[in-house]
């Protein structure tokens, strides 16, 4: 990578404790969730989170393809996380790569821990997550979108799964990193929480943190997840809210 001099690294944290986009350390980026954004899917959601734009579609429970993945005591949960070629600055080579395979796997495993899969033996619940525009934290945005889509599909679950990344920038622990903070920061810690039980079902880390910082980061992340949780529930409520009906049948 060569020599990125100190002057090339942007100042991530101002002396006043504000970040490059003016947020405080414990502040989330603006988050908008829309449940039921797609017609064809059994359930769907669209999430705009800062500059992230993520679409999720859920199909199932349905017949398993390929057949050999079928489990005769429960449903299999299959997830495909995919980034569009135009989602990042440089064109991303389309299709599965090492990174998206990993993210698909961890997201599927997070969902497995909340979905009552035993209710639908020999079936498959398929979650498709498409990242249309990426700006750090897309696996969390994907989890949020996928989770709302699962609820929209009427799939029985323990709880919704809010997710957020906490990181370390300029020596301080910060909630919900954006792209520059992720690129030039010291650490990144995405997590997904089951709010009712307080259990974490996804936790990954890149970079370095001290033990103290880690526990501080976890606290901050859990707090962030609880805020996101409210927005997820709100999105589902709005989907069925009595709004004036446009169209000929009004």
């Amino acid at each position: 990578m060569g020599n990125i001099g100190a002057k090339d690294v942007p100042v991530l944290l101002s002396p006043e404790g504000l970040r490059i986009d003016g947020r405080r350390l414990d502040e989330l980026r603006p988050l908008r969730i829309e449940a039921g954004a797609l017609h064809q899917a059994d359930g769907s959601a669209y999430v705009e989170w800062g500059a992230n734009k993520v679409m999720a579609a859920v199909y199932g429970p349905r017949e398993v393809h390929p057949r050999h993945l079928q489990q005769n005591n429960k449903a299999v949960i299959q997830c495909r996380y995919n980034m569009a070629a135009f989602s990042v600055d440089e064109r991303k080579r389309p299709g599965l790569d090492r990174r998206s395979q990993e993210i698909s796997k961890v997201i599927a495993e997070a969902f497995e821990s909340v979905v009552f899969a035993e209710e639908f033996p020999r079936t498959s619940i398929d979650v498709y997550i498409e990242v249309l525009q990426a700006n750090a934290g897309t696996r969390c945005a994907g989890l949020v979108a996928g989770s709302v889509a699962l609820a929209d599909a009427g799939i029985p679950m323990v709880d919704l799964l809010p997710a957020v990344a906490v990181g370390k920038i300029g020596g301080a622990i910060a909630l919900d990193l954006k792209k520059e903070e992720d690129n030039f920061g010291e650490a990144d810690l995405p997590m997904a929480l089951v709010p009712q039980s307080g259990r974490l079902v996804l936790l990954q880390m890149e970079g370095h943190m001290t033990e103290e910082e880690l526990s501080q980061a976890l606290d901050l992340g859990v707090k962030g997840c609880r805020d996101i949780y409210e927005k997820m529930k709100q999105a589902l409520r709005e989907r069925y809210a009595p709004t004036p009906v446009p169209g000929a049948l009004a």
């Binding site: 429970p61 079936t123 599909a153 009906v245």
Partner: protein
């Protein structure tokens, strides 16, 4: 959990003490015995057909469950892939296997017509109390309608009748969880009936110039355009 009850699915709570019931708003069709459902053939085997009835799994229809005398290996002469049938759920087992039969009144192969898909949670609203909604719809349109409990509805009649019925069904699908549904559907049907030809149902803002002597068979473009203009009017 801690004296509280949590729902596992998204739905409306029906407060009927002492039982708490959640009425789901969405979800796939979960079969129950004796449901009459509409399915399409997805696979043909030597002694049975596999039907997609919108349930989590495909339902096998065995040749002994049909009114025909089928010889082994001759199943394809009776039903082929994509054919539509109306069948009844006969048996369910804990692994989710669904047994269906075509023996019974009103069951059989569906010829002609169109199938409209709606959410299975909306089926009771389409039928209405003692079938009142479905009677209203058939009375106003003259269409033949068969409602499957799985949210698949077969409609046959004139192209105009099919179009009106599917409009109504789509409306119920989207707004069926709200009150005042019957009046809305009734007034829509009356409005379109008075107006006569389908193009008259075009809402204001889309004035059509006279009557073309030969109306092109595909009206899709126009209703589609109308819907777009509505979206922009009511953001």
């Amino acid at each position: 959990m801690g004296g509280k009850v949590y729902a596992s699915v998204l739905g409306l709570v029906s407060p009927r003490p002492p039982v708490v019931q959640v009425i789901p708003l969405s979800g796939r069709y979960i079969p129950r015995p004796n449901d009459v459902v509409i399915g399409t053939v997805t696979d043909v085997q030597g002694t049975f057909w596999l039907l997609d009835i919108g349930a989590p799994r495909w339902a096998p229809l065995h040749m002994t469950g049909t009114p025909w005398k089928v010889d082994i290996g001759e199943t394809e002469r009776y039903l082929r892939v994509r054919d539509a049938v109306i069948v009844q759920v006969e048996s369910l087992d804990p692994t989710g296997r669904i047994g269906v039969t075509m023996l019974g009144e009103g069951l059989g192969k569906l010829e002609g017509g169109t199938i409209v898909h709606i959410s299975p949670a909306r089926v009771p609203r389409v039928v209405g109390r003692d079938g009142s909604m479905i009677q209203t719809i058939t009375r106003h349109t003259g269409a033949q309608i068969a409602v499957g409990q799985n949210g698949r509805i077969w409609v046959d009649g004139t192209p105009e009748a099919i179009r009106r019925v599917s409009d109504v069904l789509r409306f119920i699908d989207e707004h069926g969880h709200r009150p005042g549904l019957t009046e809305r559907v009734g007034s829509y049907l009356r409005a379109t009936a008075e107006a006569g030809p389908p193009r008259e149902t075009a809402p204001e803002g889309a004035p059509h110039v006279g009557f073309a002597p030969t109306v092109p068979p595909e009206d899709e473009t126009e209703p589609g355009g109308d819907r777009d203009s509505y979206d922009t009017q009511d953001p």
